[in-house]
């Protein structure tokens, strides 16, 4: 039997393996040996980390989950930074949440690394210098190696974040992930759009990170610790609650009464909302979701790993990790859904629906998935907001697998279409070179036409089911999981969220009603846009030569898809509700629930009776979505690719609104970006006129003063010195004739002098 305590105590090895891989690849790049070997190094590193985390997870299953979540032996810390009278500690915390997430990250990352070794390899075999247009194999190899250095560092960040024992350490790894995300989105940095997207992602998440940082500082200020274990203690939470509302706290600090807007919000809720700010940024929730679609500029495996499966769920993970802080963030009713959680639930539900509706009108295969990711993250966030903790974590895990699968599948499709384009070119040498490459109008005013050379535009695809059968089957498995078709993993997790919302609704929580209605609607929309995507990409006749010539991808790309699709199909079975007819008892009465539920208040986690209504409602929503998708796109897919039938149903203006993502980017551009540019210009003007003027004035004054000083110096001071020198020089000139150098004259003078003295003496 595996010794859980020893395994947990050495869990720091998990991030270490990938960190080592990162260092080794850096050395390989520096010594000019980057290339295939770098990919193998990275795969070996993440395989070691993943194996360790999976073993750790399996060991933690051994009936000791309660022990795992409470026993201090399960964490190991060491002193890191001396702070006042204590130490900031650096360490490892292994609990069911961390172990399960680390195992998920390990498996998903390993699959993605293997996939990338082939995907990126093809990218760089014919790497051409963007300026000279020449094939540069050495640079291609180096960039290939650099990719694996980045992703290894990223995996280190994710493992470290998941297993961190305190918030400061978590923030450190969180920022490592942010850095890697930036580097990888902008990996094709010769493309201006990629550079722009990287910048946007970095700066947008930075806004949220500021909130997270403030939240951590407040926790430290109020409770004197950032250790999860200490933060989660009931007495710590009670102390946080005891501070009371903000205005009272401020009044107490300042010594006089203060009135501020929203002053009645408790300090605990403020802390929770600041921490939630970090999650909004990282998990791309509503006001800060704009970076994630643009992040699709990165290579597809990066989109799969960072912007779908792992990093973006870090924000959700953070809420889950600090769940007791959120749950206690109220003054009056500790048992109820707290004020902070209302905000969390509302943001999550809004995001889930908003992003899903945008996804309906996108043409870029990856952007559809990006909005789907935002929407699914919204599900997790809203689940945490209504207290459906286990359901949220469950959805986090299942979503990671099926979304990684979908993204990798889309990468495989893109790859195939790209190859098809090269094929089409070589075949069509004698014919009209432009055959099959004419740009087709979208048929909708204000919506961009399909660029015939864009391998990611779904309007250029079609018929790929026959060309890429394995990709098709696995993509379909991921789609069924995402849309919540029964038995597939997404069904169980999404259904658990919705049924928890339904039950909370029964307890009289209005927010749970909002969550349930928006969540179910989003489930319908999700099914619709995924059906649209599947039909546009795989069904019907191909709409371009490229799609017609697309080959199936290499085995290293396809087999990870197969492995991930196994998870996408079966993973949900660990969390089948105990009360579910037939399957529930058969599968051990929801083992995941028992495993994860221990984290909460001594394991006393409520399980409620199975209610068929929410499950039927979500299945009905999914079925309607699929049906509508089939009706619009499945019957005549070729026609649907030339003019979107959705535009006819909901009207071109509404379609355009969705296609342009509710103009949120434009609104941000018009307000925040232009606003800050204008403010910067104002500052620049102020700087040039006022600040520079003051500086110039000061320097003019200084120069005047200096010239006065200079006059005094040259005339009076120097004059005095010169006078002294002149006097002594004149005197010495006059004395010089005495100094003849003739010793006898000196003697004579001495003699005469003696005589004079004698004479004076006598007289």
């Amino acid at each position: 039997m595996l010794d859980l305590a020893a395994l947990a105590a050495n869990a720091w090895l998990v991030p270490l393996f990938t960190a080592l891989a990162f260092v080794i690849i850096l050395v390989q790049i520096w010594t000019g040996r980057g290339g295939r070997g770098s990919a193998y190094t990275a795969i070996a590193g993440v395989a070691a980390s993943g194996a360790y985390s999976v073993v750790l997870f399996l060991a933690s299953l051994g009936g000791s989950a309660a022990e795992l979540s409470r026993s201090p032996a399960m964490s190991r810390t060491m002193d890191w930074l001396p702070l006042g009278d204590g130490y900031l500690r650096f360490g490892i915390l292994v609990d069911p949440l961390g172990a399960a997430t680390a195992a998920m990250v390990g498996i998903a990352c390993l699959m993605i690394f293997i996939y990338s070794s082939s995907y990126m390899g093809a990218e760089f075999e014919r790497y051409t210098d963007p300026t000279s247009g020449e094939v540069d194999r050495a640079l291609g190899r180096a960039r290939y190696a650099r990719f694996f250095a980045y992703v290894s560092l990223f995996a280190t960040g994710m493992f470290g974040f998941v297993l961190a024992s305190n918030l400061v350490q978590a923030l450190l790894f969180w920022e490592i992930m942010g850095l890697c995300s930036f580097l990888l989105i902008g990996f094709w940095n010769f493309k201006p759009s990629a550079a722009q997207a990287a910048k946007k992602a970095f700066m947008t998440t930075r806004i949220g990170d500021m909130g997270l940082f403030i939240g951590i500082m407040m926790l430290f200020a109020f409770l004197g610790t950032t250790d999860y274990a200490s933060l989660m203690r009931p007495e710590s939470l009670a102390r946080l609650q005891a501070i009371g509302p903000i205005d009272g706290w401020l009044s107490g600090m300042l010594g006089y009464e203060v009135y501020i807007p929203l002053g009645g919000v408790s300090v605990a809720a403020l802390v929770a909302l600041c921490l939630f700010g970090g999650s909004i940024g990282k998990s791309a929730q509503f006001p800060l979701h704009v970076w994630l679609p643009d992040a699709m500029e990165g290579p597809t495996p990066v989109s799969a790993m960072i912007h779908a499966a792992t990093m973006v769920s870090a924000g959700v993970f953070l809420i889950a990790r600090l769940y007791p802080v959120f749950a206690s963030a109220t003054v009056d009713h500790p048992d109820q859904i707290s004020g902070a959680m209302y905000a969390v639930a509302a943001i999550g539900a809004l995001t889930a629906l908003l992003a899903a509706t945008i996804g309906m009108a996108q043409y870029d295969i990856k952007r559809v998935l990006a909005f789907s990711t935002i929407s699914q993250l919204g599900y997790m966030v809203m689940a945490l907001g209504i207290g459906a903790y286990v359901a949220a974590v469950f959805h986090l895990l299942t979503h990671a697998f099926f979304k990684a699968l979908l993204f990798l599948g889309s990468g495989s499709v893109i790859h195939g279409v790209e190859h098809g384009m090269h094929e089409g070119h070589s075949h069509g040498g004698g014919q009209d070179a432009g055959a099959g490459h004419h740009d087709r109008q979208s048929g909708i005013p204000g919506v961009a036409a399909a660029d015939a050379h864009d391998p990611q535009d779904m309007r250029n695809m079609g018929g790929l089911a026959k060309r890429m059968p394995l990709t098709y089957v696995t993509f379909l498995a991921g789609t069924l999981a995402l849309t919540g078709v029964p038995v597939f993993s997404g069904f169980w997790s999404k259904d658990e969220i919705l049924s928890d919302a339904f039950h909370k609704m029964g307890d009289g929580h209005m927010i749970a009603l909002v969550v349930w209605v928006l969540g179910t609607t989003a489930a319908f929309v999700t099914a619709f846009y995924m059906a649209r995507q599947v039909f546009m990409v795989f069904a019907g006749p191909p709409s371009t030569d490229a799609a017609a010539h697309a080959p199936e991808s290499a085995p290293a790309m396809v087999y990870p898809l197969v492995v991930l699709s196994v998870f996408a199909i079966l993973l949900g079975l660990i969390g089948v509700p105990a009360a579910f007819p037939v399957l529930g008892p058969l599968l051990g009465g929801n083992p995941f629930h028992h495993y994860m539920g221990h984290l909460l208040s001594g394991g006393a986690f409520e399980t409620h009776a199975f209610n068929a209504l929410p499950a039927l409602a979500s299945v009905g929503a999914a079925a309607t979505g699929w049906g509508l998708g089939y009706a619009l796109y499945g019957r005549r897919p070729a026609a649907a690719r030339s003019r979107d039938p959705l535009a006819s149903v909901i009207g071109a203006p509404l379609f355009r609104l969705l296609n342009r993502k509710y103009y949120i980017d434009e609104i941000y551009d018009a307000t925040f970006i232009r606003g800050s540019v204008a403010f910067a210009k104002l500052n620049a003007w102020f700087d040039r006129r006022a600040v520079d003027g003051a500086v110039n004035g000061a320097s003019w004054l200084g120069s005047r003063g200096a010239s006065v000083n200079g006059w005094i110096d040259s005339r009076i001071v120097d004059g005095t010195v010169t006078l002294v020198a002149m006097v002594s020089s004149e005197l010495s000139r006059w004395m010089r004739w005495l100094q003849t150098g003739r010793v006898q004259q000196y003697l004579l003078l001495a003699f005469v002098g003696v005589l004079i003295f004698l004479a004076m003496n006598v007289l």
Binding site: M735, Q739, T740, G741, R742, V743, Q744, L747, F751
Partner: protein
């Protein structure tokens, strides 16, 4: 014995010696001559010292037991010998450098 030769005889000889020496020291062009003049002046002073001791200090009883004047003279002789040695060494050294012993040639210290 006491009154056979009066003191001023000695002083006269001493003054003559000193005068000769002074003249030599001031007028000789040869540096060796200058040195010799200085020796003469010193010896004139020696005679004075011994004479005054014998005629004034001994009769008054102050110097009967002491040998002040003689010790003075011996000290001056020893000093003169040392001075001559140093002076001659200087002259030799200068001669080696400039092939001259004429004092008017030794005027590099002229201001």
């Amino acid at each position: 014995m006491e009154a056979s030769i009066p003191l001023w005889w000695y002083l006269l000889v001493a003054a003559a010696l000193f005068g000769t020496g002074l003249f030599g020291a001031l007028s000789r062009r040869n540096a060796v001559g200058v040195l010799m003049g200085i020796e003469l002046m010193l010896n004139g002073a020696n005679i004075n010292a011994v004479a005054f001791w014998r005629y004034i200090a001994v009769p008054s009883g102050a110097g009967l037991n002491g040998m002040d004047g003689q010790v003075f003279a011996i000290m001056v002789i020893a000093l003169a010998a040392a001075e001559a040695a140093v002076g001659l060494a200087l002259i030799i050294s200068i001669y080696r450098n400039r092939q001259s012993v004429l004092v008017e040639d030794f005027s590099t210290m002229r201001g």
